[in-house]
């Protein structure tokens, strides 16, 4: 393999990994936009998606598409429940207290998951076999194609939702100016609820499609959640295109770093990139300047 071939291979796997980060980052962005909360339970949504999928698909033997949809719905409900039970009852929410609550929720979810699914690593079945497909000199697993394809579909769906539907526009309006939105009759609390549901669904999808590649266990949400958060911040917290760009950039950089330097530094690279971005452009690649957020 020549250097260029290698590079192509790294970029391909970077795009795969980046897809996951981008979806997780979008989960952060959607909740941040409607509430200004950084939802640290986002990673747990990813883990829950993977775990539900394993249980439904492998343990219970449900067909893959059915298990997929049920898992996403289950995690969506959990997302909504988190909002109903712990977020919305808070009388005088401050950003910090809400963030700490999401950390608490995350620890709780993880604890329950550990009881239910134990500490073992579980292997999920790839959606369509494991024979790699060659793209020129590089190779890609069918599951990676699924990851990229499903991510693309999700992005298109989200784009349509936020740009062309009444509810989606209402959600964006709430994010920009909750007071003005409520004067137009948009229920801000309802929008927050929807955003938690949506973030849950996104997390679940990420978990389901990545599980056959990385193995799943109760603790997988932590790292994926943090990386997704890095992606969101790198791209500019609160920006939807930013989350996508940030997620993919992180995946590709990580993969290049792991391949060209050493895979031991894989996780460190994400955080080094995060720090560099925060030093040089604290609002992220596509973030608006601080002064605009009042």
């Amino acid at each position: 393999m020549t250097f260029v071939d290698q590079l192509l291979q790294f970029i391909l796997s970077g795009i795969t990994q980046g897809s996951i980060y981008a979806i997780v980052a979008l989960g952060f962005t959607i909740i941040y936009n409607s509430t200004e909360i950084i939802n640290f339970a986002q990673g747990e949504f990813v883990m829950l998606g993977a775990m539900f999928m394993l249980t439904l698909n492998i343990t219970l033997g449900l067909p893959l598409p059915v298990a997929f949809i049920l898992s996403v719905i289950a995690v969506m409900i959990i997302g909504v429940l988190i909002d109903i039970i712990v977020i919305s009852p808070i009388k005088k929410p401050t950003q910090l207290s809400l963030i700490i609550i999401t950390i608490g929720a995350s620890i709780f979810v993880k604890g329950v998951a550990m009881f239910v699914w134990k500490k073992d690593y579980h292997a999920a079945t790839p959606f369509s076999g494991e024979v790699p497909i060659s793209i020129g000199p590089a190779a890609i697993t069918p599951q990676a194609l699924w990851v990229i394809g499903i991510t693309g579909t999700v992005l298109i769906f989200l784009h349509i939702f936020f740009e062309y539907t009444n509810t989606g526009k209402g959600m964006r309006a709430c994010a920009i100016n909750p007071r003005a939105a409520s004067l137009l009759g948009i229920k801000v609390k309802r929008m927050v609820l929807i955003s938690f549901g949506l973030a849950g669904a996104l997390g679940a999808i990420a978990g389901i499609i990545i599980a056959p590649i990385t193995f799943a266990n109760y603790n997988m949400g932590l790292m994926l959640g943090l990386k997704g958060f890095c992606g969101a911040v790198i791209g500019g917290l609160g920006s939807v295109p930013g989350a996508i760009v940030g997620g993919f950039a992180l995946g590709i950089l990580e993969s290049l770093g792991a391949g060209l330097i050493s895979s031991a530094y894989k996780d460190a690279i994400a955080f080094v990139v995060l720090l560099l971005v925060l030093f040089m452009k604290p609002t992220g690649i596509l973030g608006k300047s601080e002064s605009k957020r009042v």
Binding site: N177, L183, G185
Partner: protein, 247 residues
């Protein structure tokens, strides 16, 4: 003529601070009523109490014969009260048309497609400039155009009562008087208008009646032209005539 809005003894508190202290007032159908008063007199709080975005602590608001004191903002919008908030509060990054259509958010949920299309045309006849710029992002509009956009957005809810909070704020005098003209024309379309203004003179000129607020109370009320010449109001809120002022 019937009362469109009748408010009895309305009080609103922010924590321990009493922003409104037993306000009573009424608006007849088809009137323009203005609220004037200094900063912090409670004018915006009053509008927000009617809109339901601020919880009232006591008193009673009835609209069209229906008690709306404890209703939620979306119910109040549905019943026909639209507020155009202070500082316009348009959605900068949205296009002009998206901003306008968000005004019809609840009606779109109910599927009133045809009616909305008719209203949109009507809004564009009132504000032709907005039709020209409908694809532009709202943040690129001038201050006056943004105010028109905010009013257009409010109109898209098809209100019976339109409440305008400081529509001339920060606008050049010429643009401000243009806005006042628009408000006068809205009255001709059978809309009832509650106008909050710092620019008391301009507001009272187009108003049927006015209320003067001071620290959460109604200090004075009367017909627009009477308040304009009232000595106390003149001293406290109108300042000297612009002409005198500049010379």
């Amino acid at each position: 003529m019937t009362f469109l809005l009748k408010i009895r003894n309305l009080s609103t508190q922010y924590g321990k601070i009493r922003a409104l202290d037993g306000i009573s007032m009424h608006i007849w159908e088809g009137e323009i009523v203005s609220l004037i008063g200094a900063n912090g007199a409670g004018k915006s709080t009053f509008l927000n109490s009617i809109s339901g975005v601020v919880d009232i602590s006591s008193g009673n608001i009835s609209f069209n014969g229906q008690d709306i004191s404890r209703k939620r903002p979306e119910e109040i919008v549905s019943l026909g009260i639209s507020q155009v908030p202070e500082g316009r509060q348009i959605f900068d990054s949205f296009s002009v048309i998206d901003n306008i259509m968000l005004g019809a958010y609840l009606r779109r949920k109910r599927g009133e497609k045809k009616e909305i299309a008719t209203d949109l045309e009507e809004v564009f006849t009132i504000f032709p400039i907005l039709e020209e710029r409908k694809k532009q992002s709202a943040g690129t509009l001038s201050g006056g155009e943004q105010q028109m956009l905010a009013i257009a957005r409010g109109l898209m809810a098809r209100p019976k009562l339109l409440m305008l909070d400081e529509p001339s704020l920060g606008l050049a005098p010429k643009i401000a008087s243009e806005i006042m003209n628009v408000i006068k024309r809205l009255k001709e379309r059978n809309l009832t208008i509650l106008l909050v203004e710092q620019n008391a003179r301009a507001a009272l000129k187009i108003s049927d009646r006015g209320y003067v607020f001071e620290t959460g109370n109604v200090l004075l009320q009367g017909r627009g032209e009477d308040l304009l010449v009232d000595g106390d109001v003149k001293r406290a809120y109108l300042g000297r005539d612009y002409k005198e002022f500049w010379e």
